[in-house]
Amino acid sequence: MAELKGWKDIPIGGVIDKPATAKEYQTGTWRVIRPVHQPENCIHCMMCWLYCPDQAIVIEVVDGKPKMKGYNYYYCKGCGLCANVCPKTNDNLPEEKRAIVMKPETEFQD
């Protein structure tokens, strides 16, 4: 968090005079399970993008079509909704066939 300002240095009335300042706030630290994108299984249906409550799915328009590029882990809280709505991910598929796999965050600690 940025250094706290004094009363003379902030706008009056509690107004936040700039949009989207929350983008500075890292919600990714909340995450205990990490979704991992396996592009080889992805059909780029955009369901993960549509439903991600934290808008942490990175997409890119290639040849006029949106493509899933992976996660913005700065924001991803690890809810797993992306995997739940993914048509290429379910409990009956072996992990290597899924487009999204959920892995404990501990696996990614240094």
Partner: protein, 392 residues
């Protein structure tokens, strides 16, 4: 002295509605409540007749009236409303939010007793319940002041050093429904005086999106309150500037305190609103009899003109404070403030507290005389609250 071109006999409600017509606010949201209702009715007629360009929102409650003007003011509109008593109480929550959000809303309040039992007549319990809400409170003695203060309120509220809402208090029925002589400014003169609205952080500037009313926890809430405290400190200076400008166009000069025959006065009575006039008359009578008496009417109660009162009251023989509201379990609000101010003066006068006129009970010359006579005989007791016009 500017020439009086438009002198009329009107009610206080008409006077205020006419000020609102001249202000031509962008948005008025209001709900009728006795004795404020005629203000809304007259103004609604102006809207219906196209005398103003105002968009009027006939809301379903005072709570929504204040909520809507908060929305409108935040959006970037000049917004006004009016209410009284229970209506003001219903607004209470949003009254605070309006001030905290630093929205320069102007609201006329036809002061009326706050229930219960229900009573529709004048006292100051409604406005006094909002005295710590962060609103500037102006108090009119008569229809003329109600008109003048409504115009001045816009300028004070929108001043960049202030940015606070203003409540223009005028006694319910006595001023709201009583017909008195009012000198109106020419429309053009009044319009030029209030000027174009000055907006800050308008919601409708969609190119620069702002967030109004965030969750403000212990990191910053205190800082925002400190800003509000600071803004109130600027009000007196701004009031004087605005009053000076207003005097030039109207010939009517207002100060934070309205002083009547106080220069050589040994005994000074202090009261808000229409009763101050009756006291002035009583002062004239008592001066005939050789008593050195005067009256001070604070034109503004929030911020409280403490220093100005200290200067005036230091060394007087007696100070009598009349309150048209009780503070149950504590001293009456105006008295409490005056008494507290006197803590710091070098030569403290005797001081006495008189509560009068609750629920519209008439306050008569003989009541006022009685309180003065207590002072003359040295019978003022700082810790005793007395009642005028009450049956024992």
């Amino acid at each position: 002295m500017p020439e009086v071109k438009n002198r009329q006999a009107v009610t206080g409600a008409q006077a205020i509605a006419n000020a609102m017509r001249q202000i031509n606010p962008d948005v008025v949201a209001a709900y009728p409540i006795t004795p404020q209702t005629p203000v809304v009715e007259y103004f609604a007629q102006f809207v219906a007749d196209g005398a103003v360009e105002t968009e009027m929102i006939p809301v379903e409650s005072e709570h929504s009236a204040m909520s809507a003007v908060v929305g409108a003011a935040a959006a970037g509109a000049r917004a006004m409303t009016a209410t009284a008593a229970n209506g003001l109480a219903l607004m209470h929550e949003i009254v605070y939010i309006a001030a905290s959000s630093r929205l320069p809303i102007v609201m006329a309040v036809a002061n009326r007793a706050l229930s219960g039992p229900i009573n529709i007549h004048c006292d100051h319990s409604d406005a006094m319940a909002e005295r710590d809400s962060g609103w500037i409170q102006l108090w009119a003695e008569n229809a003329q002041e109600a008109y003048d203060f409504t115009l001045m309120a816009i300028r004070i509220a929108e001043h960049e050093d202030v940015r606070l809402p203003v409540m223009v208090n005028f006694d319910g029925f006595i001023i709201s429904h009583g017909v008195e002589v009012v000198d109106f400014l020419d429309d053009e003169v009044a319009r030029k005086f209030v000027g174009e609205p000055k907006v800050m952080y308008p919601l409708l500037d969609t190119e620069h999106p702002v967030t109004h009313g965030p969750l403000d926890l212990y990191d910053y809430y205190f800082e925002h309150k400190r800003q509000q405290i600071e803004a109130m400190k600027h009000v007196k200076k701004v009031f004087k500037e605005v009053a000076e400008e207003f005097a030039k166009i109207s010939g009517r000069k207002y100060d934070l305190l309205d002083k009547y025959k106080v220069d050589d006065a040994e005994y000074i009575m202090i009261a808000l609103g229409s009763t101050a006039g009756t006291i002035k008359y009583t002062v004239d009578l008592l001066r005939e009899e050789g008593h050195k008496v005067g009256v001070i009417k604070p034109q503004i109660f929030r911020p409280f003109p403490k220093n100005e009162l200290q200067e005036l009251l230091n060394g007087r023989k007696g100070v009598i404070v009349l309150d048209r509201a009780a503070s149950f379990g504590a001293e009456a609000p105006l008295y409490e403030a005056v008494k507290s101010a006197l803590y710091e003066v070098a030569v403290k006068p005797q001081i006495g507290s008189y509560v009068y006129g609750l629920g519209g009970r008439d306050i008569k010359i003989e009541h006022i005389r009685k309180a003065f006579e207590d002072a003359f005989s040295g019978n003022l007791i700082a810790d005793e609250e007395r009642y005028l016009g009450l049956r024992e």
